[in-house]
């Protein structure tokens, strides 16, 4: 698998506080990587490190194959766009003038792409309105537009939906999906709004106390968390035979417990099992959300 970003045992501390503590993560090319963690877990620090705003005290990261110690890392950085915490924009300039400024910073020869970028983020009709008069969602979209000015391959978004109203959240979500699907931009999106992240991410990295505690693809996570019926029986082999006959998907967890991923007709299942001399001790419907998965990872008691 090709990776856009790989970090290895990355550390960053502020005085005595270790914000990032041996963090290793891998962001695959083309992914929407959901970076999940509570406040202060180290999400923003990691993004600052990757963007070159801060230097790690130890460890390393590779961005598009170039190590952070390589002088040429700035060339890899030219392939990224980022919105770190608040969008970087001139409040007294219009959306178009903000983009013109970004074009100048990037040294782009003409302002030709500005209209298209404004259209992409849905700000084509704001005219000469200054950025300081924009709503939070509009500012966030303008921040993403500015990040898109250099036609990046990798977008880092730090809490892009924080403080947005439901409409704003939907707009940002659709924008990120559009950028990923239509422009094949890899996106790293940090958030603690897990339900929203679940609608976007193709991969997840769970961070706690400055360390990645789990990296998982959305497909694997779905497999782990999908709705199932926990059946506790005396003979799992008999249960497997019956489920095969009924054409149901299942997974045997241990000698007594099986997870059935289908709608179960309880009476029929019990009667079939009874014919196989198999006792049914309990049937429990379970569904694990991204949130409960995260809590189970980081320890529920600490985050209650």
């Amino acid at each position: 698998m090709e990776y856009v970003l790989r970090t290895n045992d990355l550390c960053k501390s502020y005085k005595s506080c270790k914000a990032v503590n041996g963090l290793s993560m891998n962001v695959p090319k083309g992914a929407i990587y959901g970076f999940v963690g509570k406040n202060g877990a180290g999400k923003t620090t990691l993004i600052r490190l990757v963007c070159g705003l801060q230097e790690p005290v130890s460890g390393e990261y590779t961005l598009y194959g170039r190590k952070n110690s390589d002088r040429e890392i700035v060339k890899s950085r030219r392939r990224i766009g980022a919105v770190v915490e608040t969008p970087s924009l001139y409040p007294d300039l219009s959306a178009e003038d903000n983009l013109k400024q970004q074009y100048r910073i990037l040294g782009l020869p003409s302002f030709d792409g500005i209209t298209e970028i404004l259209k992409t983020v849905g700000l084509e009709n704001v005219g000469k309105k200054k950025a300081k008069h924009f709503s939070l969602g509009m500012r966030q979209r303008l921040g993403i537009a500015i990040a898109l000015a250099g036609d990046p391959d990798f977008l880092l978004l730090d809490e892009p939906i924080n403080g947005l109203d439901p409409q704003g959240i939907v707009e940002i979500r659709e924008l990120i999906l559009k950028l990923n699907r239509e422009r094949q931009i890899t996106v790293l999106i940090s958030s603690h709004i897990l339900d929203e992240l679940a609608k976007l991410a193709t991969h997840y990295g769970f961070i706690d106390n400055g360390q990645i505690i789990k990296e998982i693809s959305a497909a694997e996570l779905e497999e782990t968390t999908k709705k199932c019926v926990h059946a506790e029986v005396s003979d799992t082999k008999a249960l497997a035979r019956v489920l095969d006959e009924m054409g149901m998907e299942y997974k045997i967890l241990d000698e007594r417990t099986t997870c059935i991923y289908a709608k179960v007709m309880v009476s029929e299942l019990v009667s079939r099992l009874s014919r196989e001399d198999c006792e049914v001790y309990s049937l429990q419907e379970k569904e694990e959300s991204l949130e409960s998965f995260y809590i189970s990872l980081v320890g529920g008691a600490d985050h209650a």
Binding site: R48, C51, V74, R77, V84, I105
Partner: protein, 280 residues
């Protein structure tokens, strides 16, 4: 670097505070010079010259530079523009230098506004009494200490992300340096002797004036050191220029070298610190 300069200057032309400073400098210059004209017309027995008023800008340009630098660069920090430039792959050294060039140019433009608008007093005060070469030297010294001010305040603003803190620190530093220069200049201006008093009764002088040494007069090595310090400080240079106290070629060279030294050292230090700085 070129693209950063292009972005910086495009920004400067739309930066409201810069135009406020330009307008204020214009008004300040006109009011100050017209007041000089008023004095010259009111007191025809005293010979007022354009030179006495023309270089007043040397004293105030540092304050304008401090305000403009902190406002412009702090806004760049506060709005996340510096962060944005780093993310796009710009070198920190280039970001620092492009900001320094911008601040220096903007302050020179302010100085230029003074120099041009101050010519409004020419019809009353006439032209400079300084020789052309002296005038050029004065202007060159002004340009160089403007560079020193720009480098100094760029250092402060680039290392201090907080908008108001950068402004306050810059102004306090400017006031402190100006006060220091004024104190040194005052000490060096003390006469070597104090004239005694004479008593005249019925037109007959009964006590003859006897001059005695001034205890506050600074002698020897200390006097040389203080003069060097005064020539070294940009505020000291400005003060001496305003008072038309620049005496000889050696002093001019000392002043110019001091400004170049301050500019180079503060810029090297600033770039070093900025490269190590953790940005939020």
């Amino acid at each position: 670097m070129r693209k950063l300069l292009s972005a910086n200057f495009a920004r400067l032309w739309k930066f409201g505070f810069f135009w406020i400073c330009m307008g204020f400098m214009l008004g300040y210059s006109l009011v100050y010079m017209l007041n000089g004209c008023r004095q010259a017309l009111a007191l025809p027995e005293i010979s007022f010259t354009l030179d006495q008023f023309y270089f007043h800008s040397a004293l105030s340009v540092g304050a304008f530079c401090a305000c403009l630098t902190s406002m412009f660069l702090s806004a760049e920090y506060g709005d996340g523009i510096v962060r944005n430039k780093i993310v796009t792959g710009a070198l920190r050294r280039d970001i620092y230098l492009s900001n320094l060039v911008l601040v220096f140019t903007a302050t020179l433009l302010l100085l230029g506004v003074w120099w041009i608008s101050a010519l409004a007093a020419v019809p009353v005060l006439g032209v400079w009494k300084l020789r052309f070469s002296e005038l050029l030297i004065y202007l060159l010294v002004s340009v160089l200490f403007t560079a020193a001010f720009s480098a100094f305040f760029t250092l402060v603003s680039m290392l201090c992300e907080n908008n108001s803190a950068a402004g306050i620190v810059s102004l306090i530093l400017f006031c402190g340096l100006l006060l220091l220069a004024a104190l040194i200049d005052n000490s060096l201006s003390q006469p070597e002797t104090i004239s005694g008093y004479s008593v005249i009764i019925d037109g007959i002088q009964t006590v003859k004036p006897q001059s005695r040494p001034n205890p506050h007069y600074i002698h020897g090595q200390w006097r040389v050191i203080l003069q060097y310090v005064l020539d070294f400080l940009p505020t000291g240079q400005g003060l001496q220029m305003w008072l038309l106290e620049i005496a000889d070629t050696g002093q001019v060279i000392r002043m110019m070298l001091s400004s170049v030294l301050i500019t180079v050292v503060t810029t090297i230090c600033g770039i070093r610190f900025f490269q190590k700085k953790d940005m939020k």
